[in-house]
């Protein structure tokens, strides 16, 4: 039997999930990468809307030209934000510290994901001047705008889950970034001829159709049009859950190696 003083530790239940979540969030506040992410996101989201999206010239009170470029911004920025999530822990050896604390792998995976998603959400909220602008200039359908924000946030989550999972495969952040970028692009363009035609040429109509249903862009555009369809939301949620689960599995399998 352990003595009273030392036995106390055995029953002590910490809050590992909250611990990792808060530490990650703190990391975003003190590392330059995160600030760079939000500044670049805000600057580009704004300038794309006005220059490429012809916000004024269209003379329509909506945020379609604003949301249209989000997938492409996320495509580069989310893998850049997420590449360090596990690769950095592996390189610096803190993974050993983290995985020997009383934390279950899925808790660590989810806590890291949520912290990053909250951070991206904050950057998204900071685009509120766009919303104020259209409301000042006209009478937009705020329901459609809300749907656009929801779709944008969900898509960022999907990219994030993909990027986090790929980050666990390597200790090199650059490799994690490139892998994540490639896989995110594949999912983004899954319905596009760029991905479809090679598959059709190989004669796999079924694979092509199945992949086309997985197109992130199609689901995002459906939501951004203002229709919060259950299937589209479920698609994003399932994508996130799948990649997070894969992440936890990889983390667990790696302990065997």
């Amino acid at each position: 039997m352990p003595t009273v003083t030392s036995g106390a530790a055995t029953d002590m239940r910490g809050r590992p999930f909250a611990g990792v979540l808060l530490r990650e969030l703190r990391g975003y506040l003190i590392t330059p990468v995160a600030w760079l992410f939000s500044v670049i996101f805000l600057v580009f989201a704004g300038s794309f809307t006005f220059y490429l999206g012809a916000f004024f010239e269209r003379a329509q009170a909506d945020l379609d030209p604003f949301f249209r470029f989000h997938p492409w911004l996320y495509l580069v920025l989310v893998p850049a934000l997420a590449m360090r999530l596990w690769a950095e822990e592996r390189r610096s050896g803190t993974l050993e510290l983290l995985m020997t604390l009383p934390i279950r792998p899925w808790q660590a995976v989810l806590a890291k994901f949520l912290a990053a998603w909250i951070y991206i959400g904050c950057a998204l909220i900071l685009t509120f001047p766009m919303w104020l602008t259209v409301n000042y200039l006209g009478q937009p359908d705020n329901g459609v705008i809300l749907a656009g924000y929801t779709g944008s946030f969900l898509m960022a989550g999907a990219f994030l889950a993909i990027s986090e999972c790929l980050s666990v495969l390597t200790r090199s952040q650059v490799i994690a970034f490139i892998l994540a970028l490639a896989v995110c692009l594949l999912f983004l363009l899954a319905g596009d001829p760029l991905v479809q035609q090679p598959l059709l040429a190989l004669g796999s109509r079924r694979v092509a159709d199945a992949l086309s249903d997985l197109s992130l862009l199609a689901h995002f555009q459906a939501i951004a049009r203002g229709v919060l369809d259950f299937a589209d939301v479920a698609y994003f949620v399932l994508t996130i859950v799948f990649w997070l689960a894969a992440n936890a599995v990889v983390l667990e399998v790696r302990r065997g190696g």
Partner: protein
């Protein structure tokens, strides 16, 4: 209590650890010794739950590290090799993170945190980010993390690597102080650390246990055990005569400091006869000493053949 039974881990065709059975009871501090690549870190990683054992099993305070990993980890404090920590955080933030995860909270938790900060002398750097700290400070920060929750079992992979002698002594005192009712495993390359902080020794080579026992037991296996050493300039004749004593195995002169060591034939008591002979010959001796045995000598002899077989293979 830390226990391993036939613990093993293979990487390809190489046994990193094989058939390792150890038992560390509360009150015991086990020094895990061995050349680089002997399997010390792999063993510790398996007990700590970072690596899954390839074969056999490991328990911390009765909790199997594979079947009941959370309980096993809650009972264990672990200092990984290289003392990793989150460099961008300040010392206070890092310790607060560990405390939250470990459930060291509330008034008692804060008191414990203050105690660890005090004992490891971390006050001057609390607000500093860890990546700006010296190697010694970083190691102490990670040590604080390992001991924070006052665990009944502790595993420390090279706890004093990179510390200056004063800090080393403080860490030794800390380990001895915690040893009273805890099971502790310490890996080290510094053999003087064994005497300073440990009461058990296990020597690994090629993932296998080569020797284990108390430091005194191991020292007795050394050829220096009960040898007599002294300094004596101009004693060539005496050396010659000593070599002829029936219970003396050999007489060696250290080429560096000139110290003479007389080795006994297996188990013989030679101190009396050596002193008598030196007196008869009127040899003036300095620093006459009965040797306890040397750990480095045992270490070399039990791990040495391992190196030879590797060369042959």
């Amino acid at each position: 209590m830390i226990e391993t039974e036939h613990l093993g881990k293979r990487y390809g065709r190489i046994d990193a650890v094989a058939d390792l059975s150890l038992k560390v009871a509360p009150g015991q501090v086990l020094a895990l010794l061995g050349p680089n690549g002997a399997g010390k870190t792999t063993t510790m990683r398996m007990i700590a739950g970072f690596l899954v054992p390839g074969s056999g099993r490991a328990c911390v305070c009765g909790h199997d590290v594979v079947r009941d990993p959370m309980r096993a980890r809650r009972s264990l404090g672990y200092l990984p090799e290289g003392a990793p920590s989150y460099g961008e955080l300040s010392v206070a933030e890092f310790l607060a993170f560990a405390a939250r995860v470990r459930g060291v909270t509330g008034i008692a938790g804060n008191r414990r945190l203050d105690e660890m900060i005090e004992r490891l002398q971390l006050q001057p750097v609390l607000a500093q980010s860890i990546e700006t700290l010296s190697k010694g400070y970083r190691r102490r920060v990670c040590l604080a993390q390992a001991m924070l929750h006052d665990p009944p079992a502790l595993i420390l992979d090279e706890p004093t690597d990179g510390l200056d002698p004063n800090q080393q002594r403080e860490v030794h005192a800390l380990i001895r102080g915690m040893a009273r009712d805890r099971a502790i495993i310490v890996s080290t390359h510094a053999l003087d650390e064994v005497r300073a902080a440990c009461n058990r020794v296990a020597i690994l080579a090629h993932g296998r246990l080569r020797a284990q026992g108390t430091p005194s037991e191991l020292e007795q296996q050394s050829r220096y055990h009960r040898a007599v050493s002294f300094r004596a300039p101009a004693s060539a004749l005496a050396r010659e005569l000593l070599g002829r004593l029936p219970e003396v195995d050999a007489v060696e002169v250290d080429p560096v400091d000139g110290r003479i060591t007389v080795f006994p034939r297996d188990g013989h008591e030679i101190f009396g006869s050596v002193v008598k002979l030196l007196e008869e010959q009127h040899v003036r001796v300095d620093e006459l000493q009965l040797e306890r045995g040397r750990l480095d000598d045992v270490f070399r002899s039990v791990t040495g053949d391992a190196i030879d077989t590797r060369r042959a293979a």
